[in-house]
C-alpha cells in the first residue's frame, strides 16, 4: 500500500514537472502571467511530492518493510537505525531518488531566493532545472523504481554492506550529491543568460554562492570519501585513482577552474564564453560521473551494480553536450571579450594558466580513467591504469599548479612590473629554499618530487601569511585597530579575497599530508600472545585476544561478531598507545569478514594496524602495520578549506 503511494507520488510529480515546463513555455510565448504563477505552483507541488516519497522510503527503511525490493536489498532487521536511514542512498534506486530529492530542494531554494529578481532569466532557469529533474523522474518512475514490490519476500534480508556501515558514510554521500547536483544551478543560469542574451557578470554574481556551496561540499565529500577509504578499506591510503573517485574529481577540477575564471569576468568583463564553457563542462561531468558509476562500463570496487541505465545516461549526456554546443554557436557573437589583457605578467594571465592546468589535469585523469575502453578499442586488450600511472603523470601538473597558487597573489590586475615581481619573489623564495635545503640535507631526502613540493608549499604558505601580515599592519596603522581586530576586519571587508587565501592555505596544508605519502612504511607480521616485537622506534606488545558476539555484547555487536586483540605500543621506550584491531564477521551477509582498522593519529604520523586474522585456539595473529606520516594534515587542511569556503559564502552580496 505504502509502496504504491510512493510510486504514485513520483508519477504525479512527473506529470506536474511536465506541466511546469509546458506552462512556463506558454508564459514565455504569450506573456500571460497566470501561466507563470501556475507553473511555479505546480513546481512547488512536484517538489512536495518528491520530498514526501523520499520520506516514505526512509520510513519504510526504518520499519524494515521487506515487501519493497529495494529495502530487502539494503536493510535488515539487525541494521542499526542510522544505517537503515543511510540505506536511502546506498543502492541504485534509492540514490537516484536522493538525486531527485536534492535537486528539487535546490530548485525550490533558487526560486524562493530569486522570486522577484532576474525576471527575464528566471523562467528559463526554471525550465532548465525542470528538464534535468524530468530526466531523473523518468528514471525513477520507469526504470529504477525504489518502491518496486519484492518478488520473494525475505524477512531475513542481508542488510547494508558492512563497508558502508560507517559514520562517514552517513555524511559523505549527501555531501557528494549536494556538490554534484548543486552545479545544476549555475549551469541553468548560464543557459538562461545565453538564451536571454544577458551575458554580463550579473548571472555570475548571482550564482557565486550557488557555485561555491556545491564546490565546498564536493571538496569536503571527496576528502571524507578518502578518510572513509583510509579507515575502512584497510590498505592505508586515502586516494587510489579509482574510476569512481576520479568521477568526483572531474567536476571538482573544472568547477575550481570556473571559480577562478569568474573573477576575471567580474573584475574585467572578460572570458564570458570561457566561463560558460567551464560551467557547462562541470555540469556535464557530474552527469558523466553518475553515468560512470552506474553503467558498469568501467569496473570499480566503489561502483553501483551494473544496470541498463548506462544507455539512458549516455543519451542524456549527448543531449546536454549538443544543446551546449548549439547555445554557444547561437550566441557566439555575444561571447567576445569587451576588454583586453595588458600583459602576460598580470593576475588575469595567471588565472588563465591556472584554468588551463585544471582543464589539462581533468583531461589527463579522464584519459587514464577511460583508458580501459580506449586500449580495448585500439589494441583489443582492456588495460586498467593504476595509481603509479596517475601519480607519475599528474605530479608535474601539480608542481606548476602549486607554483601558480603562490604566484597569483603577487600579481596585480592588468600588469605587474618585472621589478615588483622580483621584489615580491625574493623573500618567499629564499625562505623556502633555506628550509627545504636544511630538511633535505639533514634527513637525506633527495627524491625530486617531495623536495620540489616542499619548496613550493613553503613558498605559497609564506606568501599567503605575508599577504595577511601586510594587510593587518596596514589596517593597524590606518585605522588604529588591534592586530586581532584588524585580522577579523579583513574578512568583513573582502571576504572573497581573504576567504580565498584561507582556502589556499587549507589546500597547501593538505599538500603537506600528500608529501608525507612518499614516506609511508608497511610491515606484515605474525605474532603470538604476550610476545613483543620491535619495529625500529616502536615496541609492539600483543597482550590478549577475545571474541565478542551479539549475545555477549548486544549493544555494539547487534549484526556481527568480532575477533579482537589488544596491543600495547611503546615508542622510544615510553608508552605510546593501546590499540584494539578487530576482525568482524557480519551475520546477515553470510559472515562476510571485515577488518576494522586500529589507528593512533598524531600530527607527525599515523600508527595504522589491520588485523589479518587471529587463530582463536593459539592466538596467532597476522597483522599489517603501517606508519603513515603527516596524514592528519590532510584532514586539518580540509577543515581550513571549509572555513575558507564559509567565509567566501558572502551573505551580504546585493543583487540588482
Amino acid at each position: 500500500m505504502i509502496s504504491s503511494l510512493g510510486s504514485s507520488f513520483l508519477i504525479i510529480a512527473l506529470f506536474l514537472n511536465i506541466y511546469t515546463i509546458f506552462s512556463m513555455g506558454i508564459f514565455l510565448k504569450y506573456k500571460k502571467y497566470q501561466f507563470k504563477i501556475s507553473s511555479i505552483n505546480s513546481l512547488y507541488c512536484s517538489t512536495l511530492l518528491i520530498i514526501l516519497s523520499s520520506f516514505i522510503l526512509i520510513r519504510e527503511l526504518i520499519q524494515s518493510n521487506f515487501n519493497i525490493a529495494y529495502i530487502s536489498k539494503y536493510s535488515s532487521t539487525n541494521t542499526p537505525l542510522i544505517y537503515k536511514i543511510t540505506g536511502f542512498w546506498a543502492g541504485m534506486e534509492g540514490s537516484l531518488l536522493f538525486w531527485l530529492f536534492v535537486l528539487s530542494i535546490y530548485s525550490i531554494s533558487v526560486i524562493l531566493m530569486y522570486k522577484n529578481k532576474f525576471t527575464k532569466m528566471m523562467p528559463w532557469v526554471i525550465i532548465i532545472l525542470m528538464f534535468i529533474q524530468l530526466f531523473f523522474l523518468i528514471i525513477c518512475c520507469f526504470f529504477e523504481d525504489p518502491f518496486k514490490p519484492a518478488i520473494n519476500i525475505n524477512n531475513n534480508a542481508s542488510g547494508l554492506n558492512p563497508l558502508l556501515q560507517h559514520p562517514l558514510m552517513v555524511i559523505h554521500p549527501p555531501l557528494l550529491y549536494l556538490g554534484y547536483i548543486g552545479f545544476a544551478v549555475p549551469f541553468a543560469f548560464a543557459i538562461g543568460a545565453l538564451i536571454t542574451q544577458k551575458i554580463d557578470s550579473d548571472w555570475i554574481k548571482a550564482t557565486r554562492r550557488w557555485t561555491l556551496f556545491p564546490w565546498g561540499c564536493l571538496s569536503v565529500a571527496i576528502v571524507l570519501g578518502g578518510r572513509w577509504a583510509y579507515l575502512e578499506l584497510g590498505w592505508g591510503g586515502y586516494w587510489a585513482w579509482d574510476p569512481v573517485e576520479n568521477a568526483s574529481f572531474f567536476p571538482w577540477l573544472t568547477g575550481t577552474a570556473y571559480l577562478h575564471s569568474v573573477l576575471i569576468q567580474e573584475k574585467r568583463n572578460m572570458l564570458k564564453g570561457w566561463n560558460i564553457i567551464l560551467i557547462m563542462s562541470t555540469f556535464t561531468l557530474t552527469i558523466f560521473g553518475t553515468y560512470l558509476t552506474r553503467s558498469g562500463i568501467i569496473s570499480s570496487i566503489h561502483a553501483f551494480a551494473a544496470t541498463d541505465l548506462g544507455i539512458w545516461f549516455f543519451g542524456f549526456i549527448i543531449i546536454i553536450v549538443l544543446f551546449n554546443f548549439f547555445m554557444l554557436w547561437k550566441r557566439k557573437n555575444l561571447l567576445v571579450s569587451q576588454n583586453k589583457l595588458d600583459s602576460i605578467f598580470s593576475r588575469e594571465s595567471g588565472f588563465l594558466f591556472n584554468n588551463m592546468l585544471f582543464v589539462a589535469i581533468c583531461l589527463a585523469v579522464l584519459w587514464g580513467t577511460m583508458y580501459p575502453l580506449i586500449s580495448e578499442a585500439f589494441t583489443g586488450i582492456q588495460i586498467t591504469l593504476g595509481p603509479s600511472y596517475f601519480n607519475r603523470v599528474i605530479q608535474p601538473f601539480g608542481i606548476i599548479l602549486v607554483f601558480l597558487t603562490g604566484v597569483g597573489p603577487l600579481l596585480s590586475w592588468r600588469k605587474t612590473s618585472i621589478k615588483s615581481m622580483k621584489r615580491n619573489f625574493y623573500r618567499p623564495s629564499i625562505f623556502s629554499l633555506i628550509c627545504t635545503s636544511v630538511w633535505s640535507i639533514s634527513y637525506k631526502v633527495y627524491d625530486i618530487y617531495p623536495v620540489i613540493y616542499t619548496f613550493l608549499v613553503l613558498f605559497v604558505i609564506y606568501i599567503i601569511c605575508s599577504e595577511f601580515y601586510k594587510a593587518v599592519i596596514t589596517r593597524v596603522k590606518i585605522h588604529k585597530e588591534t592586530p586581532i581586530k584588524a585580522f577579523v576586519m579583513l574578512f568583513k571587508i573582502n571576504r572573497t579575497r581573504y576567504g580565498g587565501y584561507i582556502v589556499h592555505l587549507g589546500v597547501m596544508i593538505m599538500f603537506v599530508g600528500f608529501i608525507g605519502k612518499a614516506f609511508d612504511k608497511e610491515a606484515n607480521i605474525s605474532i603470538m600472545p604476550n610476545e613483543t616485537i620491535e619495529l625500529e622506534d616502536y615496541k609492539i606488545e600483543y597482550q590478549k585476544f577475545w571474541l565478542e558476539t551479539p549475545e555477549t555484547n548486544p549493544e555494539n555487536r547487534s549484526n556481527h561478531f568480532s575477533k579482537i586483540i589488544s596491543m600495547k605500543i611503546d615508542k622510544d621506550n615510553s608508552f605510546f598507545t593501546n590499540l584494539f584491531p578487530e576482525k568482524r564477521f557480519y551475520i546477515d551477509q553470510n559472515n562476510q569478514p571485515h577488518s576494522e582498522v586500529a589507528l593512533k593519529s598524531t600530527m607527525l604520523e599515523d600508527f595504522y594496524v589491520v588485523l589479518g586474522d587471529v587463530d582463536m585456539k593459539t592466538g596467532l595473529a597476522t597483522l599489517i602495520i603501517k606508519i603513515n606520516p603527516m596524514v592528519s594534515w590532510v584532514w586539518i587542511g580540509t577543515i581550513l578549506l571549509c572555513i575558507g569556503v564559509i567565509i567566501c559564502l558572502d551573505p551580504k552580496i546585493r543583487l540588482k
Binding site: K267, F378, E536, S595, L604
Partner: protein, 181 residues
C-alpha cells in the same frame, strides 16, 4: 623555525624491516588478479599476499631461486584452485625468475600467467608510449593555446582604448584595490 623543526622531525623515521620502496613500486605495476579491483601493493587479499611474498623473495638479499619458484607455484596453484587461470606449462616462466629481476621482466612473467589485463601501467609499445605522452601533450598544447590567447587578447601599439574606457577600467581597479584592506 618551528615549521622547519616540524618538517625535520617528521621524516626521521627509517625502518629497515618495513616493506622496501622497491617492493612497493614493483607491486604497484600489477593489479591483484583475484578481482582486478586494485594494485597488489594496496590490496588486502590472499592472492595479493602470495604475490607480495614472491616479490619479497625476488628482491631479498638472501635470494634463493628454488624458494622463488616455490612461491610462484603457490600463486599459480591458488589461481588454478580459484579458477583465475588454467593449468599452464611453467618452464618458460621459471626461466624468467632471477634476483632483482627487471620491472619489465617481472611484468612479462605476470602477463604470461594472467594476460595483459593484469597490467596497471601501459604496455611497452607504441600505444603505451602515446599513453604516457598524451597528458603532457595536452599540457603543452594548453600552454601554447593560453599564450596565443593572451597574445591575441593583449594590446599592441596599434590598439588604443578610448580615454573613457581607460578611465572606467582604472576606476574599477581602484575600487577593487581599495577594498583590499
Amino acid at each position: 623555525m618551528k615549521i622547519i623543526y616540524t618538517f625535520v622531525t617528521i621524516f626521521s623515521i627509517s625502518f629497515s624491516n618495513f616493506v622496501s620502496e622497491k617492493q612497493y613500486d614493483i607491486e604497484s605495476l600489477i593489479l591483484a588478479p583475484c578481482c582486478y579491483g586494485g594494485i597488489v601493493s594496496e590490496h588486502n587479499s590472499p592472492m595479493s599476499k602470495l604475490i607480495s611474498n614472491f616479490v619479497k623473495e625476488i628482491y631479498s638479499e638472501n635470494f634463493d631461486n628454488k624458494q622463488a619458484i616455490s612461491k610462484l607455484d603457490e600463486i599459480i596453484n591458488f589461481s588454478i584452485k580459484n579458477g583465475l587461470m588454467n593449468r599452464i606449462n611453467n618452464q618458460e616462466n621459471y626461466k624468467l625468475i632471477s634476483h632483482n629481476m627487471d620491472q619489465e621482466v617481472f611484468l612479462e612473467l605476470f602477463v604470461n600467467l594472467f594476460g595483459e589485463k593484469i597490467r596497471a601501467v601501459p604496455q611497452n609499445n607504441f600505444f603505451g608510449k602515446i599513453t604516457w605522452i598524451f597528458p603532457y601533450s595536452i599540457m603543452i598544447i594548453g600552454i601554447i593555446f593560453v599564450s596565443y590567447v593572451i597574445k591575441n587578447l593583449s594590446f599592441n601599439d596599434k590598439q588604443i582604448l578610448s580615454e573613457v574606457e581607460t578611465e572606467k577600467i582604472e576606476q574599477q581597479i581602484k575600487k577593487y584595490d581599495s577594498k583590499g584592506y
